[in-house]
């Protein structure tokens, strides 16, 4: 109980703002109440249009978007892609669907993580905390790491190629950084799920697979023939090329 209270306090200080996009009024209200108890400030949106307006407005950008995929009007996938077009705002999708292709579609659209209904505020808070840890600095070293022709800057959470920034989301950056720190050694799938998403042994491998795909699309010259993020079949991944700290 003590640690929980401390965490609540810690995040309350940072006044993390959540944008809760959910069309069901009752769920929205209950989640708002419970998330407020967890120490978050909650902004609500009942439709995708509303959510996009709030974000475009730009006056009070949320720290994390909680996005229901089933929305009237513009659906959640569309909202997700549009938010991604404008930046790397962390998104957790809240889905009632668990079919593989639906989860994958949501992740492909740019979500950083997902939870399935029924979900309670405690579980959501755990996912939010893990996500914010990746957003708020990688901690540890600030030295640049070179992966092939990429320069990974942990301090700024940025990746450069020949001086130009490669736009990555925080999760994609964290994934690349985790692999880069291993310096060419293999990082297992379980380790990646744990270090990037804070999942235990049983994280959803689809989460990892889709993010690896997304990362490769952004950093590889030929995503079909990856040279920087290399698969080690049956084990995990490692950075290719010459990774030098």
């Amino acid at each position: 109980m003590g640690t929980r209270a401390a965490k609540v306090l810690y995040y309350a200080e940072m006044t993390t703002t959540l944008l809760l996009v959910e069309d069901d009024t009752r769920i929205r209200s209950a989640l708002r109440l419970a998330l407020a108890d967890e120490g978050y400030r909650v902004t609500e949106a009942a439709t995708g249009e509303q959510a996009l307006e709030l974000i475009a407005d730009g006056t009070s950008l949320p720290d994390v978007v909680l996005l229901d995929l089933m929305l009237p009007g513009i659906d959640g996938l569309e909202v997700c892609s549009r938010i991604r077009e404008h930046g790397d705002l962390p998104i957790i999708m809240v889905t009632a669907r668990t079919q593989s292709h639906e989860v994958i579609a949501g992740l492909e659209a740019g979500a950083d993580d997902y939870v399935t209904k029924p979900v309670d505020a405690g579980e959501l808070a755990a996912r939010i905390r893990a996500l914010l840890r990746r957003v708020r600095g990688s901690g540890g070293q600030d030295l640049a790491i070179e992966v092939g022709d990429l320069t990974v800057l942990p301090g700024e959470s940025r990746v450069l190629r020949a001086g130009a920034e490669v736009p990555l989301t925080k999760t994609e950056f964290r994934l690349l950084y985790t692999l880069a720190v291993a310096d060419g050694a293999v990082v297992t799938r379980e380790q990646l799920l744990e270090r990037v998403w804070d999942y235990d042994y049983f994280g959803d491998t689809r989460l990892l697979d889709v993010h690896i795909r997304r990362l490769r699309r952004k950093v590889e010259r030929d995503p079909g023939q990856p040279e920087l993020v290399v698969t080690v079949r049956g084990v995990g991944y490692r950075v290719g090329g010459s990774a030098r700290p």
Binding site: I27, A30, L33, S100, K117, P118, R189, Y201, F202, T205
Partner: protein, 454 residues
């Protein structure tokens, strides 16, 4: 009434019998024709030879040659025959082979009357042919008795050949019958296999379409039945899935409203607090049930294997055990390290559910082991409970298979889907799950998965 013998044996017997009768009849006819012809030929030549010899004897008699006896002896030696001459009722014999009085009396009568006669008989175990010819112009009859050893040997050989041939044909008939039965029963065997598969739960099993008019209606009827059954099962499952799906939204509201209430329960009167606790407990159970049902309906629909990966089974079991209260280090036996292709999350769920089951119904876990089987990887979960009665062993893996509601412990959180999910997830991995007796008492739940080499 059903015959006591299987169809295959009956077909074999009939083929064999028919074949025996046909080949037996043929053999009999062959025997009749061949023996008749050969005896006829032999008799003809014997008569011709005797007629020639009789003319010599006639000449000798006419000249009243004193050398008659020598002639007879000579003839007897030349033809390997016994030669006799009846002259006025006296027997003059050339060669000592045959005592004339041992020839059949009917033959002797005819000879003595001076008529042509021939007779087959057996003397001292030797088949012989006796030919009697009246000697022209003399009151005498010439008799020649020639043995038929050669012919007898031929007959014996022929008879053996025919008997063996008949038997061989009967045997061949039986083999043909067996082949025919097997051939004719092949579609039936396929039918049996398919029906067994369908009975085993694979309602997707279908008989191949056939143009054979004898089988078509059966195949069509079977396929229609399983198809209807499959649809019905799918509809039921979809319904359960839809219901659980619809429950997600209110459940999300309830769970979150409840957490708000619980957080403030310290400020509430004792009765209210108690009521909230009751609600919270049942809400947790409710949630678990909906989760399980959703998992179940997803398992039924989700057939894709894109989430499958190479998994070190011992590592997975260890990870599950680490999270589970009931598994201590001394219950773990992870000596083998088989690899399997698996959806880690589902397999984790299956093992977790078995551990839950051991805790709830098995009075605690005794042993959790990972082993190599014959090309299968095995997980064994042993408990200290009373075991599962043989009649219930299939039943426990069915959905909502548990005691009556009165026996349920509301605090245990079980909703009766745990083992059904185990079966479901293991089937998804092309594996098997079952329960048996643990040596020394208690139940042993076993999961068997196809092992792969990484």
């Amino acid at each position: 009434m059903m015959s006591r013998f299987p169809l295959r044996a009956r077909v074999m017997a009939w083929f064999s019998l028919v074949s025996l009768i046909v080949s037996g009849a043929l053999a009999f006819a062959t025997w009749q024709l061949a023996t008749g012809y050969m005896i006829d030929q032999r008799e003809r030549s014997a008569v011709a030879q005797a007629a020639g010899n009789a003319r010599l004897v006639e000449a000798a008699l006419r000249n009243d040659s004193p050398a008659l006896r020598e002639l007879l002896t000579g003839l007897a030696a030349g033809t390997e025959s016994a030669v006799l001459l009846v002259d006025d009722g006296d027997w003059i014999s050339g060669g000592t082979l045959v005592d004339p009085r041992r020839l059949p009396s009917a033959f002797l009568d005819m000879v003595q009357r001076g008529e042509f006669a021939r007779q087959r008989t057996v003397l001292d175990g030797v088949p012989v042919l006796a030919v009697g010819l009246p000697v022209r112009g003399q009151a005498a009859t010439y008799v020649e008795v020639s043995p038929m050893r050669e012919l007898d040997r031929t007959f014996r050989f022929l008879s053996w050949t025919l008997v063996l041939g008949t038997l061989a044909s009967g045997l061949a008939g039986a083999l043909l019958g067996r082949w025919a039965a097997q051939h004719a029963l092949r579609p039936l065997r396929r039918f049996t296999d398919t029906a067994a598969k369908a009975a085993g739960g694979d309602l997707g099993a279908r008989l191949p379409t056939t143009r054979d008019p004898d089988l078509e209606s059966l195949a069509t009827a079977f396929n229609d039945t399983t198809e209807r059954l499959q649809h019905r099962v799918a509809r039921d499952i979809r319904f359960a899935g839809d219901v659980s799906h619809e429950l997600r939204s209110p459940l999300t509201t309830m769970l979150n409203a409840m957490s708000v209430l619980q957080r403030r329960s310290a400020d509430l009167p004792a009765e209210t607090r108690q009521a909230i606790e009751l609600l919270a407990t049942d809400l947790r159970r409710f949630r678990r049930m909906v989760d399980d049902l959703l998992e179940m309906s997803r398992g039924d629909q989700d057939t894709d294997r894109s989430t499958f990966e190479l998994v070190d089974l011992a590592g997975l079991v260890r990870a599950v055990a680490d999270q589970h209260a009931c598994a201590s280090a001394d219950t773990l036996q992870l000596t083998a390290h088989p690899w399997v292709l698996a959806d880690r999350r589902r397999l984790e769920r299956a093992v977790t559910n078995l551990l839950d089951n051991a805790t709830r119904h098995g009075q605690g876990l005794v042993r959790l082991a990972v082993l190599h089987g014959a090309d299968h990887a095995r997980i064994e979960v042993d408990d200290a409970g009373p075991g599962v009665a043989a009649d219930d062993r299939q039943h426990v893996f069915e959905r909502f298979a548990r005691g009556s509601p009165a026996e349920r412990d509301p605090a245990d959180g079980g909703v009766g889907l745990g083992l059904a999910l185990v079966a479901e997830h293991v089937r998804h991995h092309d594996g098997r799950a079952w329960v048996e007796d643990r040596p020394g008492g208690g139940a042993r739940f076993v999961i068997e998965l196809p092992e792969v080499t990484p």
